[in-house]
């Protein structure tokens, strides 16, 4: 058992463990709504557009958590609102508009980050560094986790109506734009909380892989969000431990663990797995075949 408990003797691992539990839960829970609404591309755009915001914040206020939070939030908002503006005012469709803007934003971020007042390690922005977790990171993750969970529980009904069919929700008096904006803000917050652990580029994995896995396993949105949260926590913690034992950076390991679960669900999910479906006895087909055989021999 020593090998299992050993990692937790170190303070940096205890902090990393706490952060993994918090961000795994937040992202896994929220991811259900992202997957249901097919917002994965949008979430990717948000993740990429965090970089210029973080860079601007690093230039003006240094590496202060509140500044980074605000910078990331503003940059993500500019990209999403800008994307909508381009879509409405030209013939460019929304996924092209958003992809164009976020790749521009990302390039800008890479350039700007060179001018930060303090030395910024681009690698840790891009891929995270769980072992350098500070107390403030734990607090930020905790607050974001609480805010996300409470908000999603409070707006659950109007959110579900909106996600199912926007026009029907509107006729029912739901303020659809407000609800979707809140969902966007929550996505940005969740991504900011996972920056420290997995970085800008891999934060998308933490958000959508647990929910996508649950989507293959269940037909209930409650199971998707709570199960996603469970998978998120389990995957992040397991990834952290493997990273400790193998000395591989934690971000990619966490995403690989979640990715393995996703592929396993794709292959072996009891209801939707491709292998499971291929192995299932074809009872309906066989029955109709027998009936057909029977008919063939009955004289007309």
């Amino acid at each position: 058992m020593n090998w299992l408990l050993e990692p937790f003797q170190y303070e940096f691992m205890q902090r990393a463990f706490l952060v993994c539990v918090l961000i795994g839960f937040t992202n896994g829970f929220l991811g259900a709504f992202v997957v249901i609404r097919r917002l994965a591309l949008m979430a990717d755009a948000l993740a990429h557009s965090l970089l210029p915001g973080l860079a601007v914040a690093a230039i003006f206020v240094g590496l202060n958590p509140a500044g980074l939070l605000l910078g990331g939030l503003v940059a993500a908002l500019i990209v999403t609102v800008g994307g909508q503006m381009i879509t409405r005012s030209s013939r460019i469709k929304d996924e092209t508009a958003i992809a164009s803007l976020y790749v521009i934003a990302f390039a800008l971020g890479v350039i700007l980050i060179r001018y930060a007042r303090v030395k910024v390690d681009l690698d840790s922005f891009l891929f995270g560094n769980l072992l350098g977790v500070a107390d403030s990171d734990i607090w930020i993750s905790l607050v974001i986790c609480a805010v996300t969970l409470c908000t999603l529980i409070v707006i659950q009904r109007p959110l579900l109506l909106t996600l199912f069919e926007v026009s029907v929700a509107r006729t029912q008096g739901i303020r659809v734009t407000l609800i979707l904006t809140v969902l966007m803000l929550l996505i940005v917050l969740a991504m900011l909380s996972s920056l420290q652990a997995v970085g800008v580029l891999l934060s998308l994995g933490l958000l959508i892989l647990p929910a996508a896995t649950m989507y293959l396993l269940s037909d209930s949105y409650q199971a998707m969000s709570w199960g996603g949260a469970g998978i998120g926590v389990g995957g992040a913690v397991l990834g952290l431990l493997i990273s400790f034992w193998t000395n591989i950076p934690s971000g990619p390991v966490i995403v690989m663990v979640l990715g393995t679960l996703f592929i396993a669900a794709y292959l072996f999910s009891p209801k939707y797995g491709i292998v499971t479906r291929a192995l299932r006895p074809r009872h309906l087909h066989d029955e109709s075949l027998r009936r057909w055989e029977g008919h063939k021999h009955t004289p007309r």
Binding site: I36, R38, V154, I155, R157, P158, L160, L161, L163, F164, E165, S167, V168, R170, T171, Q172, G173, I174, Y215, S218, D219, S220, Y221, A223, M224
Partner: protein
Amino acid sequence: MSHHLILKDLTVSFNRVPAIHHINLSLGCGSCVGLLGPNGAGKSTLLKTIAGLLPIETGSIEFRGHEIGENDTPGRTIAYVPQREAVDWDFPITVRGLIEMGRYPALGLWKKFGREDHRIVDEALHVMDLEDYAARQISALSGGQQQRVFLARAWAQQSDIYLLDEPYTGLDLNARAAFTGVLHKLREAGKLIITSHHELNDVPGIFDHVILINGELVACGETAITFTTENTERAFTTRIFAGAHA
């Protein structure tokens, strides 16, 4: 208080070009109304406007003496049923779960899903003949059943007006008969059902009233009196409205 839906001088435009204009009509509860007209006549536009999804340029819509305004959502009185293709049927929810969503506007954010809500949901399942499918995922339903789930949700919402956009599209003969059956059940329950429809042959069997439009109102009234060859020809062949879209 009259149980009538009254459209007064209604005009709705896209980019300043009217899609429907100066529509005046009055429809009573307890009727099943067919909304007929050629493609581009403004059938969907009219339905969406009554549902409160499109801004009104001129005129007004009243129900039970209250005006349904541009910025005022009709709320629970009106249930809009979109075309079946507009919905993601892989949404992770069961038939019962979807019908329960019809109760959400009445419950708001906090109110608990109570005994009365469960009773209404059971009733909706019963009225729409969906009791056997309550536990099914919504993608595992046939086209006709999917349409009925929408109606069941509207029933759970306790709406008085049902607006259906081409619900018969893609339904086979049996599904059509079953669907007509539930529409007539709604009518007997005192609801007003307005359905856009493009197949003229089965109009008399489904609808007791018809609205014929082609940009403007051609005719509106009881099927037996209004649904004449002359009126349908006027709606379908004459180009009454000649606005060009920008």
